[in-house]
């Protein structure tokens, strides 16, 4: 019988003459630790809290300044839009959905990976996800907020958007509950609300930890309020964990519901290229794809700048890259399957649409999309690239752009070539379109920077609970199964 902790490579005292090959094989069998360098629970807390406790570094102020400047583009763009009208965008009669809905689907997609990591990986007991789930959930909330901007202002008379809510109003009008666009309103607002709840519940014990340690009076008051008076008693933890489990289950359903509803905006119509049941898995997979890319874009600089490499380990980056590769293969399959279904349907409009994707006026966008989404992520088959954070960062930039192009193709190449050839045309974005979209990147990064400044960017309590020391039965007893071991 030998005692092995999962974090150490057994230097085998029983077999001195073990060959290097066997030693390497034994080393591979040992699971990589969730937190590197055998850090203690106290170290984890001190290190994550130091991000909030230390004065803001210079780069943070610069980044906030730049993001706030860029975010002002969206504010001004929307103000101009509401004052003037939707005509300031490049939409025309055939293409009455274009960049706005592209951006909406792009941002809502980024949100999905956050819930995927926090909820689905929690339910499947993937303990490594504890190191990145807070960062991913925050990404969800800010991405969904950016997404929510577009349908709100796209309605034209934005001050009447509240008519979408099922509440009694002066004209005795009730919304049409059978409309996919109303489903969309419910999906996005539910998604935002439940993401905030899930994130907030995860934050309660960490807010209590911050309350107990921070020196700044105002921040102490802030954490004391948001932690609701958490004491960390075992009875509280039991209810808390059950609540978290419930929320994880609910959020999993919600991810599927939301991407189904967002895809129903398209698939319930009869436009060629949209009218397909494949849209539901297509949107779900594409959303998670884009979200994992954005997560790598966020995590790689954060772990470097705040020296969190022991908590967000190379393994985490590796896992995100593997998910990216898997989702990339799924979308590649779906791109191919769309062509096959169009051919197999024998519908001339459907076939014409897919011919048009490859040879039509948007051929360049389609080719870029195929390159970015299907070809470049294949680099992740290489372990060296997956385990090199900045190489991974560079690779995921391409599918991030590629996913935006994908939504653009789905939306614009369909609406500019509908059933009536006389209404065919092209879509050209105006400067308002461009600036409003660039501005949402600023909104997203500004919100994220403020989040990492004031709240623990990594779930302290959850990372602590996956440490070997947190297991009351540690170290596990591992039977030595080598032949003859029992007689030694």
């Amino acid at each position: 019988m030998s005692y092995l902790t999962p974090t150490t490579v057994p230097a085998d005292p029983l077999n001195r003459h073990e060959s290097a090959e066997i030693a390497r094989a034994r080393a591979e069998l040992v699971r990589e630790p969730y937190v590197a360098n055998e850090r203690s629970a106290a170290w984890v807390g001190d290190h994550i809290a130091s991000v909030v406790e230390n004065p803001a570094p210079l780069w943070w102020w610069i980044a906030v300044g730049v993001s706030a400047f860029v975010a002002s583009f969206t504010a001004l763009g929307i103000l101009y839009l509401i004052i003037t009208g939707v005509g300031v965008w490049g939409e025309n009669k055939a293409a009455n959905w274009a960049w706005d809905i592209t951006n909406f689907v792009f941002w809502i997609g980024i949100g999905h990976a956050g819930t995927m990591i926090a909820a689905i990986l929690y339910l499947t007991r993937q303990k490594w996800s504890s190191g990145i789930n807070r960062a991913a959930e925050a990404m969800t909330i800010f991405a969904v907020s950016c997404a929510g901007i577009y349908p709100g202002v796209h309605v034209g008379r934005a001050w009447m958007a509240w008519y979408l809510a099922p509440i009694p109003n002066g004209n005795a009008i009730w919304p049409n509950f059978r409309s996919p666009l109303l489903w969309d309103v419910f999906a996005v607002s539910t998604y935002l609300s439940v993401s905030i709840m899930f994130w907030y519940v995860g934050l309660i014990p960490d807010a209590a930890a911050m309350r107990d340690r921070i020196k700044n009076k105002i921040l102490k008051y802030f954490y004391a309020v948001i932690c609701l008076g958490w004491r960390g008693s075992a009875r509280q933890w039991a209810n808390y964990e059950f609540c978290y489990l419930m929320l994880a289950g609910i959020a999993t359903l919600l991810v599927i519901s939301t991407c189904t509803v967002v895809s129903s905006d398209f698939s319930t119509s009869v436009i060629p290229g949209w009218h397909g049941t494949i849209f539901i898995p297509y949107f779900g997979v594409g959303a998670i794809y884009g979200g994992f890319c954005m997560l790598v874009i966020l995590l790689v600089p954060i772990r470097q700048l705040y020296k969190l490499q022991d908590i967000v380990t190379l393994r985490h980056i590796d896992m995100c890259c593997r998910f990216t590769l898997l989702m990339g293969l799924f979308v590649t399959y779906i791109y191919g399957m769309e062509f096959f279904i169009a051919y197999y349907s024998g519908n001339p409009n459907e076939c014409g649409h897919f011919y048009n994707r490859v040879y039509g006026p948007y051929w360049h966008t389609w080719q870029l999309m195929m390159l970015f989404n299907c070809v470049i992520p294949q680099l992740f088959w290489s372990k060296r690239i997956r385990r090199n954070p900045w190489a991974a960062f560079t690779v995921v930039l391409f599918p991030s752009i590629g996913m935006w192009l994908e939504r653009f193709i789905i939306i614009v190449s369909s609406v500019t070539r509908d059933f009536l050839p006389s209404s065919w045309g092209m879509f050209y974005p105006t400067y308002v379109d461009v600036f409003t979209f660039i501005g949402t990147l600023g909104v997203f990064f500004l919100a994220y920077l403020i989040f990492i400044r004031f709240l623990p960017v990594i779930a302290i309590a959850e990372v602590r609970s996956v440490l070997p020391e947190a297991d009351p039965h540690d170290p596990p007893i591992v039977e030595d199964t080598r032949p003859g071991a029992a007689h030694e």
């Binding site: 203690s40 629970a41 106290a42 807390g45 099922p166 005795a172 009008i173 009730w174 049409n176 509950f177 059978r178 409309s179 996919p180 109303l182 489903w183 419910f186 999906a187 539910t190 609300s193 439940v194 709840m197 907030y200 519940v201 014990p205 309350r211 107990d212 340690r213 609701l228 008076g229 958490w230 004491r231 960390g232 008693s233 075992a234 009875r235 933890w237 039991a238 209810n239 808390y240 964990e241 059950f242 609540c243 419930m246 929320l247 609910i250 959020a251 359903l253 919600l254 519901s257 189904t260 509803v261 129903s264 309590a461 959850e462 602590r464 609970s465 020391e469 297991d471 009351p472 039965h473």
Partner: protein, 198 residues
């Protein structure tokens, strides 16, 4: 702090708070806490609790706790929301404001499903949190334990067992102090309750 100083009395100081809330002790790690919790459970105490910086798997069994009731709140919230939103949709789309869209029936259940689903999800998530905070007696503005300066580390790196004075098996302070010391507790402390000011 000065008027509250009498609330916290280390076990060997010879002082006693005017009105006792509980006796607490500190433990160094999850293993020690787990073993100690099993012993306190076996003595038959009811009004006691362990305080840990993170969730320790299996500690609820070591304490003899029942399964959490939060799931009932989730179920109740979900069912209530499902019935409520079904009635809202049906009444408004069939009776109050029937709208003819492409000849589809006013009552078209498949078309209602997404919103039924989403509202059920929203309310059951909300009720899970309401359930958790209600069962945990949160939010709470103050608690006698927060007077204990050591207790700041209950969210950082220390583990505590606190046995409350209103437990039926709480005989004398001496017996509880001895018990906590015997099962490996350090810094055993009497924690007083603030008296209501009239």
């Amino acid at each position: 702090m000065s008027e509250n100083a009498a609330l916290i009395c280390p076990a060997n100081s010879g002082r006693m708070p005017k009105k006792l809330y509980a006796v607490g002790a500190e433990f160094t790690g999850p293993k020690q806490l787990y073993a100690a919790a099993e012993k306190v459970r076996d003595k038959g105490f009811q009004w006691w609790d362990c305080y840990t910086p993170y969730y320790i798997h299996g500690l609820d069994k070591a304490m003899g706790l029942r399964k959490s009731f939060v799931g009932l709140f989730t179920l109740g919230g979900g069912l209530g929301a499902l019935i409520g939103i079904f009635l809202l949709i049906t009444i408004t789309s069939v009776y109050v404001y029937p709208m003819d869209t492409q000849g589809k029936p006013y009552f078209s259940l498949p078309g209602f499903v997404p919103i039924l689903d989403l509202v059920t999800i929203l309310i059951s998530a909300l009720m899970s949190i309401v359930g958790m905070t209600t069962l945990n007696f949160l939010p709470r503005l103050h608690h006698p334990l927060w007077e204990w300066d050591l207790f700041n580390r209950a969210t950082h790196d220390k583990f505590f067992i606190v046995i409350e004075a209103n437990d039926p098996r709480f005989t004398t302070e001496k017996a509880i102090i001895d018990l906590l010391t015997e099962i490996g507790g350090a810094n055993v402390t009497l924690i007083g309750e603030e008296e209501d000011e009239i």
